[in-house]
């Protein structure tokens, strides 16, 4: 029975109820004949005792956190590869990981190779004075810079992952240690508001597209505009683009007016539909005055299709990483796979800004002047901004190189030549870093368990202090006494 309760101390008491776990631990301490342990047992039940112990627990957790950070790279490789005869071989079940990684690496390489000469040309021709120019030159000349620019920023625009969606919706979710996302209790109200707005948009765009689709089926293939409209008419995404304006400036904390406006727009569209077309012997055609509006709407629709096309995959991935099957979670899964909702998120992907070469060209134009001597110089009005962006180029480069060396040491041991190439490149280092960062951000560390294991022996009768830890307990008791003494200073100075 006693053993069972010891097991329960770690297993059943919620991890966040630290005070409860401390109380449970205190009750299981076997004081023996040592008066210090008996005092410690009493102290655990007091508030100052808990404060001092929580400090120890947090320090233990901090040690675990640092160990976890230190072990993150080996863990990354051990989870995906196994050592066979001194080489690392892909584990069974990791084939899809390999396929996706190689595919992404190849695409990234093509894009990075497009921007590398652009950056090199600027770096080679940067002026040396004043200092900001020299600093930018050092930054742009470093071999890690192009990869970092692409992998940290530009890639997200052309090939977004779930984090671009989480930038918009992340505050609604918490992430468990299993990597799954869920809606915590505290966010249920806000999540419901999102569901209401998104649900209203999904319903409205479905209704409008049904009506529009029926009308557009009978459109005459009069010109390019009519042909585009005929194709777009039955697509809820096109309807969404027509309705989206009604949600402009909508406040998620005050959604009812926006939903009413959306419904009003939907009704108005349905009402005005007959006025937009006229009958001809070859079918329906747009009335003259509707041309401009329809052309603009179709242009927005084309841009939205590109964006939504890029977001569908991350949307599906995020939907599949949601935990739970309650109605609200299910609604979120549905929302994340709806074109209309993805379009509503207004994520900055696709379009002109998605082409890395165009973005780099635009940034060069915005920040630098090319003077008569053929040299690039940082424009004075952006000098401070550029300085802030590049910080300390030498230190940044050294850090990048250190990280690359560590990952490469593992990468060189890979049996698979394609994967070896990846994990000895800066791309591989970035991939490991990104995965580690996510894993570390959701990991929790049981400092109490670690601290107890260090100082107590577990037996059938409870927790007995290890002989070597007597000093630790005495230090804790002294701290408890000091804390109590300090708290006696409980009124303001005169």
């Amino acid at each position: 029975m006693r053993l069972l309760s010891l097991a329960l101390l770690f297993a059943l008491v919620p991890q966040d109820d630290l005070d409860g776990r401390l109380d449970a631990f205190g009750k299981q301490i076997v004081p023996g004949s040592d008066p210090a342990v008996a005092r410690f047992q009493k102290a655990v039940a007091t508030r100052p005792g808990k404060i001092v112990l929580r400090d120890r627990i947090e320090k233990s957790a901090e040690t675990l956190r640092k160990e976890s950070e230190r072990d993150a790279v080996p863990e990354y490789f051990k989870a995906r590869f196994e050592e066979v005869g001194g080489a690392l071989k892909l584990r069974k079940g990791q084939e899809e990981f390999r396929r996706l990684l190689i595919e992404d690496y190849k695409t990234s390489k093509v894009e990075i190779d497009r921007i590398r000469p652009m950056v090199k040309e600027v770096a080679d021709n940067m002026a040396d004075t004043p200092e900001i120019n020299a600093k930018l030159k050092r930054y742009l000349s470093h071999p890690a810079t192009v990869d970092a620019l692409y992998l940290r920023d530009l890639r997200q625009r052309s090939r977004p992952d779930i984090y671009v969606i989480l930038k918009k919706l992340g505050e609604l979710f918490a992430q468990g240690e299993d990597g799954k996302f869920y809606i915590p209790d505290a966010r249920q109200d806000l999540a419901e508001k999102f569901c209401k707005v998104a649900g209203a948009m999904m319903d409205a765009s479905k209704d409008v597209s049904a009506q529009l689709g029926t009308v557009c089926e009978k459109l005459a293939a009069f010109d390019d505009l009519h042909q585009r409209l005929k194709k777009a008419g039955s697509d809820p995404l096109f309807a969404c683009m027509l309705l989206k304006k009604s949600l402009d400036n909508a406040d998620i904390n005050d959604i009812e007016p926006a939903i009413q406006k959306l419904r009003g727009s939907s009704d108005e569209l349905a009402r005005k539909l007959p006025e937009v077309f006229e009958e001809t012997p070859k079918g329906k055609v747009l009335v003259e005055k509707a041309y401009d509006g329809v052309a603009k709407a179709l242009d927005s629709y084309d841009r939205a299709r590109v964006k939504v096309g890029l977001l569908r995959d991350p949307g599906r991935q995020l939907a599949s990483r949601m935990r739970g099957s309650d109605a609200r979670t299910e609604m979120f899964r549905k929302m994340l796979q709806s074109d209309a909702v993805l379009a509503l998120l207004d994520v900055n992907v696709g379009g002109e800004e998605a082409d890395p070469a165009k973005v780099i060209a635009a940034q060069i134009k915005k920040a630098l002047s090319k003077d008569a001597d053929g040299k690039y110089r940082v424009l004075p009005e952006v000098a401070e901004e550029v300085n802030g962006e590049i910080k300390d180029p030498v230190r940044t480069a050294e850090k990048e190189d250190r990280g690359l060396k560590i990952v490469s040491m593992w990468g060189e041991k890979l049996e698979d030549a394609e994967l070896r190439e990846i994990f000895t490149s800066r791309y591989g280092k970035f991939e490991v870093e990104r995965t580690m960062k996510e894993a570390l951000s959701i990991r929790s560390y049981d400092g109490l368990k670690s601290w107890i294991e260090k100082h107590f022996d577990k037996s059938g009768s409870g927790f007995a202090l290890k002989a070597a830890s007597k000093g630790e307990i005495e230090t804790i008791l002294a701290e408890v006494d000091r804390l109590e003494k300090e708290s006696k200073k409980n009124d303001l100075k005169d």
Binding site: Q175, E486, S487
Partner: protein, 444 residues
């Protein structure tokens, strides 16, 4: 001739051994200062007042009738405290006090409100609530208390001192306080408790708050009482010092008193200073001791205050005088908060279907933030008056008798003059007039 106050005092002190409670201490003060208090309010006004203070709305007509039939005040207070509306309304009031109406620095206001609602529902001791707020750590979407620290992360020492100690350190940020004891050094030493505070934006959104022990170097902070931390988790030690300090129990007691009476014994309640002394020191000491004795049990303290005659003083007094207000000789008028006003309209008009307009109403009431883009100044913005008109002129406005309409909105029957004035008026007109009257707008 024995004066009324002497009689009250004699009654309050009779028995000798027992300490005078709220009413005895006030009676003693009135006797000393020659103050004549207002009479006690009637049962209907008591119910309106208690309902607004505890559950954030006026009583519905059925609740009013039931109470008037059996006016057991203590039982009613218990009933209101047990209502789910109590933790909801108190969490809204405290959220507004802690974080205002906007969200800043990635804080999630509703997360904090949700957390507070649970604490009030579970009747968590207030010292525990305060300690958890001061030492909050974790992820913003999971640990609601973290959103208090996030929202006030620019200078948490200032907000925490005001909220939990009633002390304004604002001046001491830049120089020694000109009128109080606080020096710039006091502020700096207090602010150091937050040096290890680390905010981290998580890849999947949200923020994590924790104390990084590596940052707890350099000179140690010092609490305003002189206490210094012992562990490396300075905020945890600070939370302990704050909640075991006398200023904390005084401020807690004073804030509760302020909530119910509309005026603090120290007023404003976040300004205890050498120049701003308590108006009835013995009463403040008594309430602070009660707070400690009850282990900061919010409901127990509320029962104590609401059971007092002091809480039942009428707001009508022939002499309106700040001196009398400071001695609680009559009840202060309290304007309703936006939440109270909306919920009261819904309760009075039986208009549950309006609930979905609540957020909109509150935001209209509070107004737009100063940070808004005002380039479009002539754009029509709905006013509180507009929203109220919509609510009160809705076709579903109750079509009751004049007495019923008065009971619904003002918790009382009309007097003869009012009957005269209302003769021949349509119910919608009467509802509109009553809902826009000062008597409705104020908790009195």
């Amino acid at each position: 001739m024995i004066s009324r106050t002497s009689l009250v005092l004699a009654l309050a002190l009779c028995g000798g051994a027992a300490e005078p409670g709220i009413d005895g201490l006030l009676a003693r003060k009135w006797e000393e200062t020659g103050v004549r208090p207002a009479p006690l309010c009637d049962d209907a006004e008591f119910l309106r007042r208690a309902s607004l203070d505890l559950i954030g709305r006026v009583p519905r007509i059925d609740e009013l009738k039931a109470f008037l039939a059996k006016p057991d005040r203590a039982a009613k207070i218990d009933e209101l405290l047990a209502s789910p509306d109590f933790p909801r309304f108190w969490s809204e009031t405290w959220t507004a006090m802690l974080n205002g109406y906007a969200s800043a620095f990635n804080s999630q206001r509703d997360g904090l409100r949700f957390w507070l609602e649970k604490k009030f529902r579970d009747n968590a001791p207030f010292d525990k609530i305060a300690a958890e707020l001061v030492a909050a750590s974790g992820i913003s979407s999971v640990e609601g208390s973290v959103n208090f620290i996030l929202h006030n992360s620019v200078d948490p020492a200032i907000k925490i001192s005001r909220t939990f100690l009633g002390i304004r350190l604002d001046c001491a940020r830049c120089h020694d306080h000109p009128f109080d004891r606080w020096t710039q050094k006091d502020y700096e030493e207090m602010a150091r408790f937050f040096v290890p505070l680390q905010k981290e934006d998580l890849p999947a959104g949200n923020s994590r708050v924790r104390d990084n022990p590596d940052r707890a170097g350099g000179p140690k902070p010092r609490f305003l009482t002189g206490a210094q931390p012992v562990t490396s988790r300075w905020r945890e030690d600070l939370a302990y010092f704050i909640t075991t300090s006398k200023p904390f129990s005084r401020t807690f007691a004073n804030r509760l008193w302020y909530h119910f009476m509309g005026r603090g014994i120290v007023d404003p309640p976040d300004d205890f200073s050498l120049k701003n002394k308590p108006s009835v020191p013995a009463l403040l000491d008594f309430l602070a001791e009660e707070a400690v004795r009850t282990n900061f049990d919010v409901r127990a303290m509320i029962r104590k205050i609401c059971a007092s005659d002091a809480y039942r003083r009428s707001s009508r007094h022939d002499a309106r005088d700040p001196r009398l207000e400071a001695l609680f000789a009559y009840r202060m008028l309290k304007p309703m908060t936006p939440e109270q006003l909306f919920d009261s309209l819904v309760a009075a008009l039986d208009a549950g279907e309006f609930r979905k307009r609540r957020d909109s109403f509150i935001r209209t009431f509070v107004g737009r933030s100063f940070g808004e883009d005002f380039s479009n100044v002539w754009r029509y913005r709905e006013t509180v008056q507009d929203v109220m008109t919509k609510l009160t002129l809705d076709p579903k406005t109750p079509d009751g008798s004049l007495d019923e309409l008065y009971l619904r909105l003002l918790s009382r029957a009309p007097n003869a003059r009012e009957r005269d004035l209302c003769r021949g008026r349509a119910p919608a007109e009467i509802v509109f007039a009553l809902a826009n009257s000062n008597e409705f707008f104020f908790n009195h």
